[in-house]
Symmetry: C2
Amino acid sequence: MTTKDTIIKLASDLILEKGFNAFSFYDLSEKMGIKTASIHYHFPSKTDLGIAVIRQQSESFIALQAATESKDALSKLEAFFSIYIRHKSQGKVCLVGSLCTDLYSLDPAIEKELKPVVEGILQWVTDILKEGKRKGVFHFSAAPRTKALLLITNMLGILQVSRITGKTDFNEVRTALLKELKTKKE
Amino acid sequence: MTTKDTIIKLASDLILEKGFNAFSFYDLSEKMGIKTASIHYHFPSKTDLGIAVIRQQSESFIALQAATESKDALSKLEAFFSIYIRHKSQGKVCLVGSLCTDLYSLDPAIEKELKPVVEGILQWVTDILKEGKRKGVFHFSAAPRTKALLLITNMLGILQVSRITGKTDFNEVRTALLKELKTKKE
DNA sequence: TCTTGCCTATCTACTAGTAGGTAAGTATAT
DNA sequence: ATATACTTACCTACTAGTAGATAGGCAAGA
């Protein structure tokens, strides 16, 4: 892994663990054994680094999307959930949640970079739900996009709230969501 | 309103708007026309101020709970939602969401103060759901506490996500949640 | 009714530390 | 010899927090 990639990885970890405003170039420099000025060589500003983190996360989302393209709707949804499972196991929140709470304290370029990513994720989940409903494996009454918003906010929210209420609540919520989606109504 | 109360109010606003780590005593001092040292007189440390903000929010939660005690379950749930509606109208996120994303960068005293508040809210919503189900006005299959977690994370999450996807998504989600709860299944 | 003295709330002035960022120089590898 | 990746050394701005002074209000005692 190149230095640049290592910086992105560590910055990403810190953003998801402590928030964008709570990590510094010094934190990174200590962990990497290089000077803060060297990080500035790769990323002129903290905003640039933030943007790189968003892009990297976006790419890994798109890769997951591509990798599960030919699978069934349930597998796709489980793949989507797997991202949050991994985050939870490390005590992290998700990038969207972390950046959105700090959004109005950040450079507008961050918001600009984040927006298409969020819209992409929302579209992906919406499509998964539509497909699942069409094939009769998912059952829900709200509009697919609305239902996608509900699922996303549940996962995003429980990553945060379960830091307080306890880790087991994460699985409680995830399981309930899957069960509810699979249950036929009326 | 006393100076102390004004500080709490403004600090609260800033935390919900920009996050705990993005506001400073200087921000408050500028808005109030007093010096930072004067704020330190009322709140020795930033953590002390954070704790005061949590206590104030907790009290207003408890007051709302008390004020709606004799009402029906639907009214209670709408009262619960009204908190988020007010926050959304001001572009804010909720205190729990804001503090949880930054939690691991904050003084442990913050977590200690926040925990019973979150548990209180969760208990309140759980009780509302139980009552609604018993009286036949709410319909859901998950355990009441789990369903409460789902509702809370939906509201907490949509406050954050709709900063990016657009304000209207907040109402979309809120309306869908109420409709789904009121709809009888099977 | 003075006066003494404490309490509250603020100020000025300061500290030590950290933040993000820059400029100029160095070693290395192609 | 040029680009890459880094260093040293620095700057400016801001952070939370402290010390000591001040001015007004209140209350008890001579």
